[in-house]
Symmetry: none
Subunit: 200 residues, 4 copies
């Protein structure tokens, strides 16, 4: 029997460790050695796989954000109605959080909501997500499904902002977080944005 220890992917190990420590301590308070410790490797190895501490974060972000971009575009392609498209997008984001809250916390807290520092690097990728959502809205307006007096870009910001704030609320324990809450949120956030708070 060819016996060899299963080749543990150290690179992956480091990335996963980074998620945990970034989530716990924040990017700035995390030392490269913290990541290495958590990963159980020497800290020099981090530099074997990544150019810098920042690149680790960048990698984490890009990995995940590309999935989001793909999901939005897929939703746009495949969705039956504009509202269904938004529901798919909302569901994808909430699911992402549900499945890997630490990673989403890192992405939101350290990148998306820190456009001043690291977000700066990824502004164009972030913008693309907003634009894709705006396109869904714009198409919806053209199709008569959405009112026309609200700028699509504006609506996109409101929609995405509402969702991200929910995630923040969960992350920082400002609103209750349970599987049920996550499930409800997926439709409620779309209900709020599409139907409005006032009774119809």
């Amino acid at each position: 029997m060819g016996s060899k220890a299963p080749p543990i992917d150290k690179r992956r190990q480091i990335l996963d460790a980074a998620i945990r420590v970034f989530a716990r301590q924040g990017f700035h308070s995390t030392r490269v050695s913290d990541i290495a410790d958590q990963a159980g490797v020497a800290y020099g190895l981090v530099y074997h796989y990544f150019r810098s501490k920042e690149e680790v974060l960048n990698e984490l972000f890009s990995e995940r954000w590309s999935l989001l971009l793909a999901a939005i575009e897929e939703a746009d392609r495949d969705g039956a109605t504009p509202r269904a498209k938004l529901e798919t997008v909302a569901a994808f984001i909430v699911d992402s959080y549900q499945h890997n809250p630490e990673l989403m916390k890192v992405i939101i807290v350290e990148v998306t909501r820190a456009a001043n520092s690291f977000g700066r690097t990824h502004l164009s990728e972030i913008r693309r997500a907003y634009e894709s959502i705006a396109k869904i809205v714009a198409d919806g307006q053209e199709a008569g499904a959405f009112r026309r007096d609200i700028d699509p870009a504006f609506a996109s910001m409101a929609f995405y902002g509402a969702i991200e704030q929910l995630l923040s609320g969960w992350i920082f324990d400002l609103i209750p977080a349970s599987d049920t809450d996550y499930e409800q949120a997926k439709t409620l956030v779309v209900a709020t944005i599409c139907d409005g708070l006032e009774p119809r």
Copy 2:
């Protein structure tokens, strides 16, 4: 004629300088000497008035956030309808940005959206704002002005998240920013949240 050189409030000078450099470079990339230079005072004076660089930021945040809290509570007290109350809140926030975009940028980017680091310190103050907004929604539901199937805390997050995201959009140049845009935003954000995107 009692004549005396107008006593320049150095403390204020330092705070104002901090707003500018925090907005430009971000808190972490700002050295205390940057603040002092910008304020035109000696290095050590910052430490004469503040215990640390962080305390400067804390002061900036608290100063402004207490105004927001007061504004929300006043809106709640004095507003004619729940919707009008929300409009007042939205207007206050947008106005704040319009009048001092740098300060609002600092508060949002470095505190509100960085709950991981500095926001942690102010979580209770931040929470109070969300709760006050939630109360407006809850009262609105009781009065029949708002639908009842959306949790007030949830609605509050969506509402505040939408506004803050708009500000982020302006800050990072993701959506057009002009006085007209600001003006429209005040009502549109409430229209979005209260009436929904779908035509009535």
Copy 3:
């Protein structure tokens, strides 16, 4: 009745405050503002009376050390026997500690035993004390009261060192300290040095 608030000697007040804080925190850990606080004056005033923080310590030392020098010389002049002279010196030092342990602590810990830093400045004054004691020994040898095979300078160091170590022991709670202990120490230290530990 000429009424005037008794002119509080601020200079004295500062010196006394310095004794307390130097004794408590040590010279290096004492800020000028600590002295001022303890004295109940603004810290600028310290600079009105003293050129620097170090000068405060110097003053404290010189004030006291000159008394010691005078006491040794008086003992030498007036003592009946060499041994009586040493007893007078020992008694003076122990009394000094008994009456103002904080001051003696400062002098010993910060000057006498810190010849590396501040003691350096006062080395010649310190040396004079040792020499005066050595002279007492030398005279005693000439008079046949002391053995001749021990160098007077050497004996002086042993004598002074023994006493100072006792004070250190009291200061740092290494040996019991009570009025009775002080009283006994005066004669015992001379007994030790003059008669020796071995029974006669």
Copy 4:
């Protein structure tokens, strides 16, 4: 022949450098960069091996003091007479100074005689030395070799104080220092303490 550059122990190099600069400038006036310069290593390496500048001093002290403690205890175990025991102790201390005067200077000036600051940390170790010496005296009293009217703790202080003062005298050039002086001191200090200054 396996040839490899002799692995220079940088940690040791730093400690030795610290001895030199602490002895020359005193602990407080020594910057960490002085130590690094003297050791010929980079600034940060000091912090690679030691948590702080103070820890360097602590290490230096503990390293040496443990030898002293061992020496005293060995002297107590192996000495023929109480007086011989004290002679061994005195000889060990004087030898220590003779072999490494800089180290002993640092230990005495910065730790032993600075019980206020760094000595505080080591008070218990210092106390142990005094107690071990006191035990030698107490045993000597019980055996009838020493007079009984002098408290052993008291005698211990006198004995140790006398020796340390001699070292101080050498360090600060208050008394002549030569190999002959060192040699004589070993027996003379015991002669002084055991036989007394007065002729028998």
